[in-house]
Amino acid sequence: MEENARKTPLYETHLREGGKIVPFAGYLLPVQYQTGVIAEHMAVRTACGLFDVSHMGEVTFKGPGALKTLNHLLTNDFTNMRVGRVRYSVMCYEDGGCVDDVIVYKFGEEDYFVVVNASNRFKDVEHMKANLLPDTEFADISDSLAQVALQGPKAPEILSKLLQAEQIPQKYYTALRGVDICGMECIVSQTGYTGEKGYEIYTAPENAEKLWTVLREAGKEFGLIPCGLGARDTLRLEAAMPLYGHEMDETITPLEAGLDFGVKLAKEEFIGRDALLAKGEPQRVRVGLEVTGRGIIREHQDLYQGESKVGQTTSGTFCPYLGKAVAMAMLPRAFAEPGTLVEADVRGRRVEAKVIPLPFYKRA
């Protein structure tokens, strides 16, 4: 185990729940519970799962310059965003590579809350601080918040046992703050990283254990089980959601990663815009692969057509709900057409795969 790995406020709870603890992004977190990754994955697709995601980082931008700063730092456009909305964005370097991907909550005209990846927190904070525009108050509040994700088709019913309808965000990518769950003040958003309907709930660290227990109790009759990092990864992969360090990083632009919807090149200015415009249409793109040979293709495996190396996978696993092995990869545009066959070098063995459209899974 990593010497300096930190514990989330739910660490003891995970031990009591039978979680298998591993170091991840500087934190000790459960990779799975006794039920195992497949059962946890299926619970989220068919009932509900509860995740501790307290490792995620949170920062705030406030003041008259906050909007301008966000539009400068991030690729998406926040100009016409309404209060109570949540929006996905990428944060780029000047050269167009990705610093991170984030979600932005707007709680007031001069009040934004931004969630960043745990593994990128300190790098992001440094980058944000270095690029603040005037009249912007910035704060890293990561250590003052715990976060859990309640994900799955039963999530609305479970939350309805604890909250009045007006305290539950009714639309995808909306959020409410000051929500009172059994006396605990929470931020609740209809967001997630599973491809399923669900909520992410933020509260003070001292409330975390009680919030977990209250949700576990409320969810029992609906088949809710706790889920670990293993299922979080298979769920996001099955839904073809990108993960920093895999589908995007310093060397991959958001356009190559297929994140065009979060990149507003028409916006007057943002860090990385000039580079993205100069590069033009990306020559390589993120594609989906279905394994048609025998085996499982994992991340960072070389892809071939005949003897020529054409690209590399970025993530890959066996998807429990689809019941098949899939991967995402960066391939030259010429190989991105669905139906194109490639071979992955899986520890010296060639395994065939076929390009298929993304996402692999989309909820009905």
Partner: protein, 126 residues
């Protein structure tokens, strides 16, 4: 605590062996399947393949990762548990029934552990 049947022999790398009529039946232990998690793919050798004690002869994949399986004995594969190709989860469900291969023409073996010695190995890794 992992289930460790007294009548089997074990390796430090978490394979079990049962010697039956001059042949060795090889599988993965309960400790191994628990550590690996839900298995979703098994890559086995074919009948007639030679295996060497201490060397990898198969691999198993869970949703999380791939792991090599090491042969406890040297010899020739005389049977392969084909059922595992479609049902790798049998290893999770019943690790001492879901054998991987049967090896004949035995010419050597790894230093095999009895149940008590293997239990110590598990306790140390536990």
């Amino acid at each position: 605590m992992a289930n460790i049947p007294a009548e089997l022999k074990y390796t430090k790398s978490h394979e079990w062996v049962r010697i039956e009529g001059g042949e060795a039946v090889v599988g993965l232990t309960d400790f191994a399947q628990d550590a690996l998690g839900d298995l979703v793919f098994v890559n086995l050798p074919q009948e007639g393949d030679e295996v060497t004690a201490g060397e990898t002869f198969a691999d198993v994949e869970s949703v999380k990762a791939v792991s090599d399986v090491y042969s406890p004995v040297s010899g020739t594969v005389v049977a392969v548990n084909e059922e595992l190709a479609d049902h790798p989860e049998k290893i999770n469900e019943a690790p001492y029934e879901a054998w991987l291969v049967r090896v004949g023409s035995l010419t050597g073996e790894e230093e095999l552990l009895d149940a008590a010695a293997y239990e110590k190995v598990c306790a140390e890794e536990g």
